[in-house]
């Protein structure tokens, strides 16, 4: 009996969480599914990939005047489309290795 795979199951969520933890303190730009793009310093991330940003600045300010006074924000992970990060902060070889490990031993309920 083979294991049941799924297109939608996401063991890489743990990898992304681990990855984003190393980016805390870096300036990133988060593009949401509603086309709003926000630049800010990454303050924290959690297991659901919710993002907290500090000192935010909306990328296209004229379209979103209601955000002028907003300094910090909390973004629910499920509405994020892209996160643009500074390239030097990423160790691509290490990321490849981490992805390989994730493939070999997906973290499915292994942590109780």
């Amino acid at each position: 009996m083979g294991t049941l795979d799924s297109i939608r199951s996401n063991p890489e969520a743990v990898l992304f969480y681990s990855f984003f933890k190393t980016l805390v303190g870096q300036p990133v730009t988060v593009e949401l599914k509603n086309d709003l793009a926000i630049t800010g310093v990454l303050v924290s991330v959690d297991q659901f990939l919710n993002i907290k940003l500090d000192n935010i600045k909306v990328v296209d300010e004229e379209r979103y005047p209601h955000m002028l006074a907003v300094k910090n924000c909390f973004i629910r992970g499920s509405v994020v489309r892209y996160v643009q990060l500074p390239a030097p902060s990423v160790d691509t070889a290490l990321l490849q290795d981490a992805a390989r490990r994730e493939r070999q031993q997906p973290a499915t309920g292994a942590r109780k």
Binding site: A13, S18, F19, R100, G109, K112
Partner: protein
């Protein structure tokens, strides 16, 4: 009367007339009472029910009601009558209050409040108005004046008021206020407005606080701890390297990097003896505590494993329990085929002995297997058991032996996967060469070499040398091809340096053997036109020279070996003769040619005088061109110096220098 139509009317815990509470309930009750006392400002201490209950209720006569109906009749509705009289009663109460209001000073006294416990219409006589310190209002001052002035008729009082001069008024006011000066009306009004605003804001804040505090105390501390434990157990793990791989290794690498550069890194992982114990003390303790908590949670969880699906008795199926790490599947697809291996779907298959196909996906599969083993080996290295302490050699020795065995197994599997021992000639290109043709394959080699025995490294090098010309980086027409150039650079950066290290430690006969193989199996002209080829040639030549002169850590080689070497050298020279100038890149490209100069220098060192002559003649054009270009100031001084330096690499090997070159006048 303990039974009311079958309903037990005995109050809970009521024993002998006293309501018994256990300690916890009593404490809770005390807490609630204190809290309420704080909020309402009432002094509840005086209500000491515990000790002051006098059990008088027990003396109530509850009997002898038999003749009530006869006495009062059956159709008098007590409740309804009371209800009808209620408004009148209320009015009387309010009148009473108003009277007591007037008889006190300046609004002092009781007033009707909406007490949250006792309902509307309660009189909190003990609550003082905010009299102290406020400026009394004008009406209040007049009222006081009238009283101090004595009981006079209303009209007279008014006239008198008008006739009172300013000073008298001031004096009267000062009497009342105990000598404090009075400000003008405007300032009084201003101050009162300010105070009103402050009061309003304070009232708002208090209202908000009260709103929030309405729900205080719903959770006990143990409840909060319980929730915290659940949350933490989801986040922190027992084996950080398994679940949090990227973050751990990234921070470890960065700290090592920073340390190398001299910047004190923030050590996350406890690593041996670091001198930064002061700063770590504070952080370390909390982290330690968290770590201990987590270990406790994890060990608890391990003892009672939570199942991923639950089956209830009598139900028609299983319920899958989802968590963050075991998410609900949106689509369920079963894997095609079954597994003949017992080791599971993700373990690499052992290499087949028969004819090996070199289709790309096969080779890529091999590379991924190599990566798997490399990762496993690196993980094993991290879990290396510590060296045994005194007296514990037996137990520790067992662990070490086991670790060595496992490590060896993995290393052997990795070695096999590299296909280095596959005999030459069965497939072209050789499987190992196919692996090296991919950038992924090149990148993994330095990591592989760390886990190989020296003899295995030699075998690897031998295989590489034997099949060198089939490498894709060994093509010579790649200068214009960006990607080809990238591959060449990658080769130079990943494969050449570790092997250079190896050859630099190798004895003479090994070098001789490698060069012999190199020359025999490869077309030297073809190989020499590529950067990697030249790099290897330079490597062998220079190492041999060093060893011949006895500068290596080996004794000077015997004559027999030296003769062998010389023979090889001559063969190489003869093959490359007349092709030396062609080694240089075409002029059009701005490619670097320092490696050519280096190779020429290496050749020149081992050359006889005649051979040196040949070398000079063949590359004369190049030398001149570089010197001339450097002397005309069309290029920047750094570039000029670089050119001269390159040429000098070669010229110094001949005992010459660029300055000796006489530029033929045009």
């Amino acid at each position: 009367m303990s039974d009311f139509f079958g309903f037990n009317t005995v109050m809970p815990g009521r024993q002998g007339g006293r309501i018994a509470l256990n300690l916890e309930e009593q404490q809770e009750l005390d807490r609630q009472v204190q809290k309420y006392a704080l909020e309402t400002g009432e002094d509840f201490e005086i209500y000491d029910y515990g000790e002051t209950y006098d059990n008088l209720a027990d003396d109530l006569e509850e009997t002898r009601d038999d003749l009530n109906d006869e006495t009062f009749g059956t159709d008098f509705d007590f409740a309804k009558n009371t209800h009808q009289v209620a408004p009148a009663l209320k009015k009387e109460e309010e009148l009473y209050i108003k009277q007591s209001d007037h008889s006190d000073l300046g609004g002092n006294g009781g007033f009707a409040v909406h007490d949250p416990v006792f309902g509307q219409g309660t009189f909190a006589l003990s609550r003082p108005a905010g009299f102290g310190g406020n400026q009394p209002s004008l009406e209040e001052i007049e009222a006081q004046l009238s009283r101090t002035a004595g009981a006079q008729p209303h009209m007279q009082m008014q006239q008198e008021r008008k006739m009172m001069s300013l000073e008298e008024v001031e004096a009267a006011l000062m009497n009342i206020n105990g000598g404090r000066p009075i400000h003008s009306e405007a300032m009084i009004a201003e101050q009162q407005a300010k105070q009103a605003r402050l009061e309003q804001r304070r009232a708002e804040r208090q209202a908000k606080q009260a709103d929030i505090a309405k729900h205080n105390g719903l959770m006990t501390q143990s409840d909060k701890d319980f929730i915290n434990r659940i949350q933490i157990s989801q986040l922190v793990t027992d084996d950080p390297y398994a679940d949090d791989f990227y973050c751990q290794v990234y921070t470890a690498l960065r700290n090592r990097h920073l340390q190398q550069m001299g910047i004190p890194g923030n050590m996350m992982d406890p690593e041996g003896n670091q001198g930064d114990s002061r700063r770590r003390g504070g952080n370390g303790r909390t982290e330690q505590r968290m770590q201990q908590q987590v270990q406790r949670i994890v060990s608890d969880a391990k003892r009672n494993p939570k199942r991923t699906n639950v089956t209830v008795e009598g139900a028609l199926g299983k319920i899958a329990v989802n968590s963050v790490l075991n998410p609900r599947q949106l689509l369920q697809v079963s894997k095609r085929g079954s597994y003949t291996e017992s080791s599971g779907p993700n373990s690499p298959k052992p290499p087949s002995p028969g004819p090996v196909s070199t289709k790309s996906h096969t080779v890529l599969g091999w590379i991924e297997n190599v990566y798997t083993y490399v990762l496993a080996l690196e993980q094993k290295r991290r879990q290396q058991p510590p060296p045994p302490r005194m007296g514990e050699e037996e137990i520790a020795g067992e662990a070490i032996r086991r670790w060595n065995e496992e490590y060896g197994v993995l290393a052997r599997k990795m070695w096999n996967e590299l296909r280095i021992t596959v005999p030459i000639g069965i497939v072209h290109p050789h499987p190992f060469i196919s692996i090296l043709n991919y950038s992924k394959g090149k990148k993994v080699i330095p990591r592989v070499l760390r886990h190989l025995l020296p003899e295995q490294t030699l075998t690897l090098l031998t295989m590489l040398v034997a099949n060198f010309e089939s490498l894709n980086v060994c093509k010579s027409e790649v200068y214009a091809d960006v990607q080809g150039n990238q591959e060449i650079e990658l080769f130079m950066n990943t494969i050449v340096p570790p092997l250079l290290g190896f050859v630099s430690e190798a004895p003479f006969r090994i070098v001789v053997g490698l060069l012999a193989l190199f020359i025999e199996r490869n077309n030297m002209i073809w190989v020499a036109r590529s950067k990697p080829g030249l790099a290897f040639l330079t490597l062998f030549l220079s190492r041999a020279e060093i060893l011949k002169q006895g500068q290596g850590n080996y004794p000077i080689p015997e004559d027999r070996e030296v003769n062998q070497w010389n023979e090889l050298y001559h063969r190489l020279f003869n093959q490359l003769q007349t092709h030396f100038s062609a080694l240089f890149m075409p002029k059009a490209t701005m490619a670097e040619d320092v490696h050519v100069w280096r190779f020429l220098a290496a050749m020149a060192v081992g050359a006889t005088v005649d051979q040196q002559h040949v070398l000079v003649t063949e590359v004369r054009e190049q030398v001149l061109e570089n010197v001339i270009a450097a002397q005309t100031t069309r290029m920047s001084p750094e570039k000029a110096a670089q050119r001269i330096g390159n040429v000098n690499l070669f010229l110094h090997a001949l005992g010459l220098d660029a300055s000796q070159v006489s530029v033929p006048s045009m």
